[in-house]
């Protein structure tokens, strides 16, 4: 194995020397075979030392480097750029976070800190020799399309936000309702399936009667809740019942609402198929107040298990009461019921008064809505996780509040779980904006530290295929596993679980990890 290593020791201004014997570290480094140059600099984070480092690289024909400094995040990209310009691959630079792993946490144990620092240096030297250059490939996005599934409040907001970034938006609306939004709008349409990955999706969509292929760089899921498919005994007993959302819309569009109006927090008071949703409250209150203002004579009842008006909407509760809206609290025992033999009458036991009430109603609305059944198809198509309630699941918080675990796929509004209009809208804007930016980057980068299968070793046991959260592995034509590099995020889960050790993760191969560990534990170089 031939290598020309450069070792750079950063003093982090004064911190390192304050605790560590830099001379000793330099000695260890310079006495290691294949180390061509050892440089100690005041602070690698300011550019001024760069030039000399790079000069050395050129003079001594360095091909890889060990840098003892701080956390990668904190080291200026300038260093890596400089190295790359000097012809050293970014994956050939081994960073050692001496500052955060040795200097800071072991201030009062000089001897131990020194020992640890030396071990870390040696481990890095052992590792750097085993590193291999890796290339990141770039793929142009074929379209600037942001496909938004669902033209509800969230969807529209998303479309506007995305369009503003310059992306080309395509709204898919499952119903026939006409909406105003930038870009193309397809009614009676939904996503059936998808091929590809963030940046270059190939969606197959149903638009009206025909099925079409549609290229998309990013997808925003704003499919909303299952407005149309109400579950639960009350819904069964009263076919005319509507979701609160629809009641709201028809009020807004000035329709006459047949009184008396009852708003029940859930069509399934037993909570078997559907739990009462907290969001119900903001909605109910806003709606009933609106209605009461328009037609004060309409009798309105709000039947609920638990008063859950958040934040300022709590005050709306008061307003509603003052406007004469009747609030009836029930518990599971006295849950509201509708006798099929006398439809149009709801019986419920008032929890606080203890009396049994039967209320005639002209309109019945439910505040809680089940998750959208379409979510299943969408999730399957785009390979994203779902919640137990059947909503679309958001990814790690670190990826952002409207991102799914999959790059290029965003989710907003009630598609996750029912949300008030306002919040849904804000999320829509956020998701739209993020999708837009993603698309306007114009290309995706992939590869680098990703997994790769050694076909000879693979038993095609499917373990990787089942384990990968991104569904990057698949069984290829040679009936051996292969990894779709564009999908691989480089987490290495498949590598860790492969029973035949047929998969390796570049830059974190078993040998590299094992060797690093061995040397860290005092094994000799």
């Amino acid at each position: 194995m031939k290598a020309a290593i450069q070792v750079v020791l950063c003093k982090c201004c004064t911190e390192m020397p304050a605790l560590l014997d830099m001379a000793m570290l330099e000695k260890i480094a310079s006495e290691t075979p294949m180390v061509m140059s050892v440089k100690t600099v005041d602070a690698i984070c300011d550019g001024k030392n760069l030039s000399e480092i790079i000069r050395e690289v050129k003079e001594r024909e360095i091909d890889r480097a060990v840098v003892l400094a701080c956390q990668k995040k904190d080291i200026s990209p300038a260093l890596f750029k400089a190295y790359t310009r000097a012809g050293i691959n970014e994956f050939m630079i081994e960073l050692v976070d001496i500052r955060d792993q040795v200097v800071l946490p072991h201030q009062d144990d000089r001897a131990q800190a020194q020992a640890k620092a030396e071990a870390k240096l040696e481990a890095a030297l052992a590792r750097v020799v085993m590193l291999a250059p890796l290339v990141r490939s770039v793929e142009e996005m074929k379209t600037r399309n942001v496909v938004i599934v669902g033209a509800g409040f969230a969807g529209m907001a998303a479309a506007q936000a995305a369009a503003k970034t310059g992306a080309h938006t395509i709204l898919l609306e499952s119903s026939g309702k006409t909406v105003k939004a930038p870009g193309v709008i397809l009614t009676h349409s939904k996503v059936l399936g998808a091929k590809g990955y963030g940046g270059n999706f190939q969606l197959s969509i149903k638009a009206g009667e025909k099925v079409e292929e549609l290229g998309a760089a990013a997808v925003v899921i704003a499919s909303g809740g299952g407005w149309t498919k109400l579950k639960g005994p009350l819904a069964k007993a009263c076919k005319e019942a509507v979701p609160l959302y629809e009641l709201y819309l028809s009020i807004k569009s000035g329709n006459q609402i047949k009184g008396p109006v009852i708003v029940v927090d859930t069509p399934d008071p037993a909570g078997k198929t559907l739990r009462v949703q907290d969001y119900a409250w903001d909605e109910s209150l806003e709606t009933v107040i609106d209605l009461k203002r328009r037609s004060p004579e309409t009798l309105i009842y709000v039947v609920f298990q638990e008063m859950r008006a958040f934040g300022l909407s709590e005050l709306a509760y008061k307003d509603a009461a003052e406007l004469g809206v009747k609030f009836i609290r029930y518990d599971k025992a006295g849950a509201p019921r509708i006798d099929p033999n006398l439809p149009g009458v709801l019986t419920v036991k008032d929890f606080s008064q203890g009396e049994k009430l039967s209320i005639k109603f002209g309109t019945l609305a439910f505040a809680s809505i089940p998750a959208n059944p379409d979510n299943m198809t969408i999730a399957d198509a785009l390979r994203i996780p779902m919640t137990a309630e059947g909503g679309i699941r958001r990814g790690s918080v670190q990826r952002g509040p409207v991102s799914t675990p999959r790059p290029g796929v965003y989710v907003c509004g009630s598609a996750m779980f029912p949300k008030p209009r306002e919040v849904a809208q804000a999320e829509g804007q956020a998701a739209g904006a993020m999708a837009g930016e993603y698309v306007m980057k114009g290309s995706i980068e992939f590869g680098g530290s990703v997994a790769q299968v050694t076909a000879e070793k693979c038993s095609a046991c499917l373990t990787c295929v089942r384990t990968c959260p991104y569904e990057a592995p698949f069984i290829g034509t040679a009936s051996k596993a292969e990894i779709k590099t564009q999908l691989c995020q480089g987490c290495g889960m498949c590598v860790g679980i492969c029973p035949s050790k047929a998969i390796e993760l570049h830059h974190y191969t078993d040998d590299q990890i094992a060797e690093e560990t061995r040397v860290l534990l005092g094994g000799d170089l």
């Binding site: 009462v276 709590e314 670190q398 993020m434």
Partner: protein, 398 residues
Amino acid sequence: MTAAKSLVDRGTRVVLVERTESLGGMARELTCKGLVECRNCGVCFAIDRASDVLKDPMAEVMLLSEVSSVQGDGNGHAVKIKVSPRYVTDDCIGCGKCVEVCPVDGKAIHPPKGGGQPRIHWIDKSKCLHFKRAKCDKCASVCPTKAVDYEDRARNVTRNVGAIIYATGIDPIDACETSRLGCGTYPDVISSVDAERILNQNGRLLRPSDGRAPKKIAVVQCVGSRSVKVGVEYCSKFCCKYATKISQLLIDLDPEVNLDFYFMDLRTLYEPQDEFKSWAKGKKTVKLIRSMPAVVSKGKDGKLLLRSSGDVDSEIAELEYDLIVLSVGMRPSGAASNIAKVLAIGQDKFGFASTNRDLEGKGVFVCGAVAGPMDIEETAVRAIAIAARVEDAKEAKQ
């Protein structure tokens, strides 16, 4: 902060003016609520954003600073900013040696609050002896990186900006304002914010009085908020959320702990509340009590007595606790009003800022919990949305 982040991501220059010594707002002092499983409190998101912004060359962060005046119109604002001295340079590695040696009681040199970023200490001039007769320089002398700089001076800077985002956030209501429940009288009655701070610092909740681990804890909801008395009639929205999560964390940390959870209505913010209820059902050591406790009095051997009307329409009960956590509400940040005036931002009777289209047209945006109580997640979402709007405004002008 999130707004700033997503703006710089779009390549917009951002000036971030923060009144306190570090970024992170409320979230700094909050603790992660997870032990093995994430409970989605969003705190890590907030803190990560803070460090992102600090690292970003496009963002200029001014700490210990306040906007003194703003002039301008739709085409831009000249913002005067007063930056107070920190007396500690960026060389600080946050080792805390200086704090140890500081002779002032209550210390004059402090680390940044909780998880605040950057991890640089700061000196409170009003307390520091160096600026009094006794030219104390203990901190300077122990500092391994010579980061203490008594010569640091206040600066007035002016920045010309295209848009202003007003995100001054919220402050916790001082639990003691409701003189009830012995807050202030008994050391072991603490506010939820104190609880979070303690948890955040050492990962476990100990009794302030004797530093022992409490075995029986009461968590009381809606203290301060939903109370006309304090002038906070509204519900602060996320107290239930974090209180339930803290309770879960406390049990995770020590399954032996007995925890009683007092509440009026349980409003665990857009998460099926049954989750918490069923969780509590599953735990023998957790009790949910629908009641608003009335009085706290001193019990024997350092315990506290909490009197409440038990569960709904049952008789008065008086129970013993080692520690009582008052889950306090929030109100718009104190610093809000004066800047708001300068920017002509409307406010409701609670001091929550409101904005409107033509104000946004002028390049003034309101963002975050200062516009109304909301949790970290919602704040983040709205921030990204606002950032997008700011961008449009910018493009609209060009």
